[in-house]
Amino acid sequence: MTETAYNFAYLDEQTKRMIRRAILKGVAIPGYQVPFASREMPMPYGWGTGGVQVTAACLTPADTLKVIDQGADDTTNAVSIRKFFQRTAQVAVTEHTAEASVIQTRHRIPEAPLTEGQILVYQVPIPEPLRFLEPRETETRKMHALEEYGLMHVKLYEDIAHNGEISTAYAYPVKVEGRYVMDPSPIPKFDNPRLESAAIQLFGAGREQRIYAIPPYTQVVSLDFEDYPFEASKADHPCDLCGCGTSYLDEVIVDDDGGRMFVCSDTDFCATRRAEGHRGRLAGEDLAEELA
């Protein structure tokens, strides 16, 4: 089959309209999970079928797409989704955050601040933040409707009781615009402060058939206790490649002796800094060359 046999961005127009309606409703009610008729996509659940459908509904031929997985542009998931849209929508692609008009992401928010006009699409595995403690969908819907969110703090209480601190490190629950409690997808809690953004943020859960959104400049507050305030923590190191002390890091084991290095999880951010001449601890070595 040739590329031209597909409709633009794979999905048919009626489906994209249906998804856009869900997106608009989501934007109108920040943090509210809008049900939508998720389609079977040519990839398994868990690979970002929700995000892909949202991206497909947003893309226009003039868009420039960036896809990241855990911050990296070059991982399997990111590469295949990028190729998917190159093939089915013939859109331009980029690895540079600033050049992208639509960014689909799994598990990270880019380090570089997003700007007005950009759309950040999240892949979401489990959209329901209350699911951990309340398995009944009928009950969690009612809890959202009636703003009964005490249960969310039960989870945080358990964290502190068992670990001495709020140990939830990713998918850290937030309250959006003082109303809906929302799961920000499995981004590290380090990224939570950047949920308050100039960009439109859209969340798609394919298997769970939910879309939700944070419009630009929406208030997003991470839940916490008065005596255990929220902390956007990260590994206490600078990046070994670009020397950045404020970016979110991945830990990489480099040999069989337990040797390790810390590198920015956002590959574009790290590469841009190195191009600007920033250097980290291991940046001059062959190993770093190989990794980069």
């Binding site: 403690l133 009612k142 009636l146 009964e148 005490g150 249960l151 703090h153 039960v154 989870k155 209480y157 358990e158 502190i160 009781a161 068992h162 206790f225 008065e226 005596d227 255990y228």
Partner: protein, 256 residues
């Protein structure tokens, strides 16, 4: 003084079968009422209707709310009714598994109602949880254990602590001592009696155990086939039963 709860003509049908029919009574502050009857007598249906778990076909359940005085619970908005369920009302299930979150610690179980009404200070929530565990005779070092690791009697006491932590005024209990060893039952009854008096609680206790109501209830309602056949002071109903069914019930109890 106003009754805490006024029940008027509550009727629930399951198709052609009567769950409970035309039940009316007043419950006053500080009063404990027992509802007895055999299985299928409608006592649990009635309790579910009163507690808002089941919508009766007819009748009124008027609760004297703190803020707005007497309100019909059945026509109240759902948020208001659920709020009542987290604050002024408590429900103790026969099986503690139905009333506890088995996946979280004892402390979180007790703290949940506090967090549900807005408590956001971990230290204070935990302090109150430990205090309540003490009041139901659970050692403070068990605060971080999950209820799965507790015995049946401890689970039931934990359920009671979880329910009473917000200082409710009305407690519904469905066979609170059912399924427990006799020695554990006695301890629980003693505990409940003390808490009822200390906190000035009103309670409605459904049970088939006449010994339980004799010790806990001021008043008794006897049900059969969905109807109330006799009401009165607990000891009067048990010692001088007027209705044939009650006489049968009382004379059927094994003496020890």
């Amino acid at each position: 003084m106003t009754p805490l709860l006024q029940v008027k003509g509550v009727t629930k049908r399951y198709g052609a079968r009567l769950g409970c029919g035309d039940v009316s009574f007043d419950l006053w502050p500080g009063e404990v009422m027992g509802i007895v009857g055999e299985s299928g007598s409608g006592k649990s249906t009635l309790l579910s209707c009163l507690a808002g778990h089941l919508a009766p076909d007819e009748g009124q359940v008027i609760f004297d709310t703190r803020a707005e005085g007497p309100q019909d619970v059945l026509t109240m908005s759902e948020p208001a009714r659920r709020m009542l369920g987290r604050t002024d009302w408590a429900f103790v299930h026969q099986n503690p598994r139905d009333g506890l979150r088995m996946g979280v610690s004892a402390g979180a179980n007790v703290g949940e109602r506090l967090m549900a009404v807005g408590a956001r200070h971990y230290g204070q929530i935990r302090e109150q949880a430990v205090d309540w565990l003490g009041r139901v005779e659970i050692a403070p070092d068990r605060v971080d254990d999950r209820p799965r690791a507790f015995s049946g009697g401890m689970q039931q006491r934990l359920q009671i602590a979880r329910n009473l932590v917000t200082g409710p005024r009305l407690v519904f209990m469905d066979e609170p001592t059912g399924g427990l060893d006799v020695s554990v039952q006695a301890r629980l009854l003693d505990l409940l009696r003390g808490l009822v008096r200390e906190m000035g609680l009103s309670a409605i206790i459904v049970t088939h155990d006449l010994a339980v109501v004799r010790l806990l209830a001021d008043r008794l309602m006897v049900m059969k086939g969905g109807r109330v056949v006799e009401t009165g002071l607990t000891d009067q109903v048990l010692d001088d039963p007027q209705h044939g069914y009650t006489q049968l019930l009382v004379s059927s109890v094994l003496q020890v």
